[in-house]
Symmetry: D2
Subunit: 468 residues, 4 copies
Amino acid sequence: MTGELHEACGVVGVVAEEAARLAFFGLFALQHRGQESAGIATLDTGSIHLHKDVGLVSQVFRGENFSTLAGNIAIGHTRYSTTGKSSARNAQPFLIDTQFGPLALGHNGNIANASALRKQLLGRGLGLMTGSDSELLAMMLAGTPGKTWTERIAQAMKFWIGAYSLVLLTREGVFAVRDPWGYRPLAWGRIDSGGWAVASETSALRVMGCSDFEEIPPGTILHFNERDPVECTRVEIDAPHAACSFEYVYFSRPDSVWNGKNIHAVRRRLGELLAEEAPASADLVIPVPDSSIAAAIGYAQRSGIPFGEGLVKNRYIGRTFIEPTKALRRQGVALKFSPLKETLEGARIVLVDDSIVRGTTTAPIVALCRNAGAREVHLRIASPRILHPCYMGVDMGTEHDLIAVGREPEEIAKMVGADSLAYLSIEGLSRAIGIDGVCRACFDGNYHIPVDENFTKNCFEGFGKGTV
Amino acid sequence: MTGELHEACGVVGVVAEEAARLAFFGLFALQHRGQESAGIATLDTGSIHLHKDVGLVSQVFRGENFSTLAGNIAIGHTRYSTTGKSSARNAQPFLIDTQFGPLALGHNGNIANASALRKQLLGRGLGLMTGSDSELLAMMLAGTPGKTWTERIAQAMKFWIGAYSLVLLTREGVFAVRDPWGYRPLAWGRIDSGGWAVASETSALRVMGCSDFEEIPPGTILHFNERDPVECTRVEIDAPHAACSFEYVYFSRPDSVWNGKNIHAVRRRLGELLAEEAPASADLVIPVPDSSIAAAIGYAQRSGIPFGEGLVKNRYIGRTFIEPTKALRRQGVALKFSPLKETLEGARIVLVDDSIVRGTTTAPIVALCRNAGAREVHLRIASPRILHPCYMGVDMGTEHDLIAVGREPEEIAKMVGADSLAYLSIEGLSRAIGIDGVCRACFDGNYHIPVDENFTKNCFEGFGKGTV
Amino acid sequence: MTGELHEACGVVGVVAEEAARLAFFGLFALQHRGQESAGIATLDTGSIHLHKDVGLVSQVFRGENFSTLAGNIAIGHTRYSTTGKSSARNAQPFLIDTQFGPLALGHNGNIANASALRKQLLGRGLGLMTGSDSELLAMMLAGTPGKTWTERIAQAMKFWIGAYSLVLLTREGVFAVRDPWGYRPLAWGRIDSGGWAVASETSALRVMGCSDFEEIPPGTILHFNERDPVECTRVEIDAPHAACSFEYVYFSRPDSVWNGKNIHAVRRRLGELLAEEAPASADLVIPVPDSSIAAAIGYAQRSGIPFGEGLVKNRYIGRTFIEPTKALRRQGVALKFSPLKETLEGARIVLVDDSIVRGTTTAPIVALCRNAGAREVHLRIASPRILHPCYMGVDMGTEHDLIAVGREPEEIAKMVGADSLAYLSIEGLSRAIGIDGVCRACFDGNYHIPVDENFTKNCFEGFGKGTV
Amino acid sequence: MTGELHEACGVVGVVAEEAARLAFFGLFALQHRGQESAGIATLDTGSIHLHKDVGLVSQVFRGENFSTLAGNIAIGHTRYSTTGKSSARNAQPFLIDTQFGPLALGHNGNIANASALRKQLLGRGLGLMTGSDSELLAMMLAGTPGKTWTERIAQAMKFWIGAYSLVLLTREGVFAVRDPWGYRPLAWGRIDSGGWAVASETSALRVMGCSDFEEIPPGTILHFNERDPVECTRVEIDAPHAACSFEYVYFSRPDSVWNGKNIHAVRRRLGELLAEEAPASADLVIPVPDSSIAAAIGYAQRSGIPFGEGLVKNRYIGRTFIEPTKALRRQGVALKFSPLKETLEGARIVLVDDSIVRGTTTAPIVALCRNAGAREVHLRIASPRILHPCYMGVDMGTEHDLIAVGREPEEIAKMVGADSLAYLSIEGLSRAIGIDGVCRACFDGNYHIPVDENFTKNCFEGFGKGTV
């Protein structure tokens, strides 16, 4: 998947000494989940301090910021990069004052019924400053009755349909909340040197000093602070387990563990099964770096074809808004990848990519390999064909944008200039992930929740009079 | 009044070509009303664009900002300078999305029942991002029923107690609103080259290209846009006229006109009457620059004592957060004022100041004059003794802070080192201003509205069910 | 002189505790001499620290800067505002490493033979990073032989023709240097709480904590540090005394003293003599604020016509790069000055201005007064006609730009719309200043130094072989 | 080589339409050679425009910068990252005015006799603004006689001892200069769409649109502009060829070609020979990412042991100045690398690193692998032991800092916790690189140039009288 596929954010929460600093390093380890903006909020004697801005985590936070981010309780957020101008306004955590005291909130996911909820909130006379889900969730919480934040969160969750892994900061401490479907990861653990941490991925927990960790189960509110024992509240909402399979295919760090499965191991296994399902006669297995390396290793090990490095990725690419010159425009992906002639020249290669969404960069990459002398290019995709858009936060565009819709692999192979093209089967994907309750909607169209513009109608019924 | 007396903000509104640019120059002319932050919002095909930041008007706006501030309808705001860190968060206009479309709002004044309103809003389940009155007013408007913005504003005004001169921007155009008491100025006019403008002071209207202007009467909503005729709606709220006398004494620009009275002329008249009430035998009349120059001229002309320049003010003082050195700390006001030895040496002077609030800078100024050789210093204050705090936005502190509370002029004269000290009488103030319906609460304690922590109780009764 | 007349910079030097902070406040008091950039250099155990940037003194320096500006010895500089983009590159002090150790230099003035010196330096194989005189002076010093900095400075001064008041910082301490003609002011004094200070104007010395001060005589090098007694070295260069009369007319702060004369007193005296030379039958004397107030007071006192305030100046004007709208362009000076109708209406006024250079703003100001109702406008200029350009740093343009060249006062009066116009005579100017050795070149064409493109030819003769 | 080994900079030069934009993309491709600062200078009708600042290439350049960087001729520079504060002052290109017109210069390398040259320049009366080699080189060129820039450069090269790949911009066009030893790479080519480019590495040339390229031979001045044919001047200086072997081991991009050898292929070959020289009995070959991947692939292919991914590198690490918390400090490298338990658990691994300099990060990485369950860790280094410091720009510290000095591999293996440790032999290195004339000074102590503090004495003899 060499295109620009945007998911939605990483979150962390900490109760420990130097909480903001720990949150910083946690966000740093989640930088791959969002490069647009970053923010940290801390609780300090009843008040919440906040610093957030547009930029990478390492750009947003400087030493001086930590002097204002006092306190032993913190949450943090890093936001994904959308097209066009980044907006400081949409940076998270989102902080408001409520009748129950200050509330900061960071969100990873996508609320499927957001626009219906938004209309209802506005209709009740509320003003909204941003178009973000996180303001929506925070505003709803401000208006939800309940004796404790746990009660209020549990009550509000009944109206939230979609993917959400949340961290919240209030005077009661940190809350970590995972949607009943379990779309996005969220794990927590004890910091070896004392305290508690929560983060989108386990690799971030390790960086924050946790040797062990466990997942927050779907439909659960975890609450921790400096005084009380960790409290885990299960919210009874009927929902099938639907862990996003794309976290395994592409989003998560290879060193993270989710649903008991290490991401790297799953990806290697995807490659192994791909080798079984779609063998090729070739001299070398070449990954499209970086996300396809594990699958390529798996393919190589299973097929016995040596693993090789055939494409170099420009590591510092970051975000640049500079338009290429007219002369460069034709070169396309050349800025991102360079072919290694010495490896590719004269070789028959298996080119392994993790996925193809729009397919816009596939043809140029195949061409790069051919121009560098590859004799044959057998494209192998370590996930099934993407045939349906995602409503849970993965920006795949509409069906119209998906290259595999209405096209057989042979046709696509021709389009992108490959000698052959094969995808992993849906069964292969399932076997590689190896757990039940996976959302494969983008592959098989089974969305687990009713995806209908009107399905949220009346969801506010009984939400309480005049509360929002 | 040589101390730091903060009032609250300047506002502008424009319907004309290059509206943002005109708003910029209007704000520029209102810079004296607020140096902390500045902002402009424009309406562009149904959307509202906003740029605001901490800093002087000339710092916040650069050429490139105007390309994003498209549209022929704009409002602007400049905010006063408080102590401590400036916060971008509190910059105005405040912009929200509502069920009636986007709403931007800029506010000059102080809502006396703000904390009660805030509690009620929060209690209804709303979250608030800032501690500012303007968010409060905007949020209330978002939840107020009504067919048009004029209706909604008129309805909400029933719950707003205090000083407010507002500009609002919606898809219907610009609204300018003045509280029923008429505490703060707000005027409007036709731009000679076409279009309409509204501004806190008439001097800003002139800079924006209006040859003629008139005031927006207290308790009035003015509405204008590109299509419709200007619409003026009077809201029936029983309220005595209470124009802030400190606008005449200190806040407004001398070239502005308010309630039909030119500020400079009023100040000169304050000086004339002061000369009648409190003559002095002296060689020169010396103003404390800049705000007391007009009064000193009046004193000089009436008394026949020549006007002289005895103190130089550092014009570029701006805001500096650099702490003086230990050695400089003792010098006090020396950074702000320099004495002119050649003028002061051997002279008996009448030192005219517009007012004394806390009195902290008066003694150092008198000392400056004496050290420069002034033989006698007769302090004359062109307004009465300040004995009561202000609840309408003028930051005078509490009674405890006011030097005149519990002290006779003779005692104050001794404290500040003057040979004599006299204030203008309340009658003198009234005669100089020359209109009825002036708020002199800081002088005479008559607040025109019930100043009571609880007076706003139940003010939300009947505000509509579940609307906010 | 209501146009934009740019002079060149202010300088300070300090030996005292918290030297950088003292330098900051000194620069602050010299802000009127230059608003483009500011910088401070300090000596700290043999190294020189430097912070400089584009902006006002209060913008360039924040609290954190002072932690890096350690040491008890400092110099500072504030630079005048030229048209177009400000350049950080030209900010001063200029710092280089030399064979004699580090050298920082700040310069006020204009080296008349700069382009010849530049050509010679380049011709000797040197590279120059900027187009500024200060780099030139520093580079020449780096290549001048001598045992001490005093010796080297004295030697280099022989080749410098023009106006220069310099501060230098080396491992030997602070050096303050004034050109042999004494074109620009430079004074020094003992800081009451200990230490020494030097500054362009005495008002800055007072702000830096000096009760007494004296001037640095023309052609003198003053040297002070923490150890040694202050050392004053006279450089024997034959040069007539030529104190810039425009410092009296316009540049200096009214509370400064130069050549034993207080600037305010001189300006009042200019007004008195103007009243004697050019009386007018009028009701009010109105100054063009701020620089003409003293002259107007003098005119009023001598003529017996009351002093009045008829024009208000926008104090916050600062620098804005925003172009006015088409509608505003016609209004011209309206942004800078507002007329006070109440004062001007029906009045016959004497409008006092300090000078007229290009005359571009004079007509609009007269028009402002007339439009506000002034019945008669008698323009009185408190300095003689400007007929010759300045080569010593005052940006008066060429003869072609000067309104008085080739025009009699009557003609100019007509051009600017005044009922009458009179200038002070050259004799009046001389009497008011009251000292010998004044440069009046812009009035009388007597330049004191040979103003000739080629006059610097061979000035490098004997400068030492291969030294630069 | 997992430590922080800093080399010195990347350079580009372009003659083509939209030259600045092309230079930008060239620098972008050289970002790995320097992350501290970036700059581009263009020639525009005789003047040189310059923009440079601290930061990554993508941070320093925004769209608006290119409007000021007009012209069809450009050079660019990206600077390496040192510890501590980045300084805008040291950013390149360095631009000066000279007697021969403006000169901009960008430098990659290290002048070994810089301090002697500096002393001589200062001694001749010159002032220097920075401590950089590039100012030194530029200043020397400004003072070197010669009819053309080529002549002057050729003359100055006689005094420059050390590594330098330069780009220069003058009114005559772009000059690319390579030192006679050929320490650092520099190549050029024809841009397919027209024009010429030069760059530190061939991968950058490809990004700039060159299909073919060739190296600039050691001791050569290449000159190109819009008019004339490319001119190649060989400077006769007796110097052995000494291509830095560390460019092959670590610095250069794998997709670059140098001395006819592709970097990736050399690295793979280093791994192959390492497998031959130092076999190990193991289950997996694991690289320390990213620079050791090619060597690990080579080792795997030759040994038949499968290649695996066992360590994940945080790609976004960038530069952060945030100190880790006390709790995190103990975790050491955890922020940079994460172990993949699933790969490592129970495995006997060959851990391949490109080099060990100080060795500070080696022990933590071995520990990471062990803690993740690796049963045996056989460390294999794809280059020889580093026993001598580098004087040509590679920041290896002194002998004291080098872990291999005075220690046998067995001892080092114990120190870092590896079961075994083997280095590639010097012969292996030579065979892998496969060319003559390689500098292996850090391995074998043969420096090719006299490394002696005094060796530059008198090098200025005959440099011309009074020229510098």
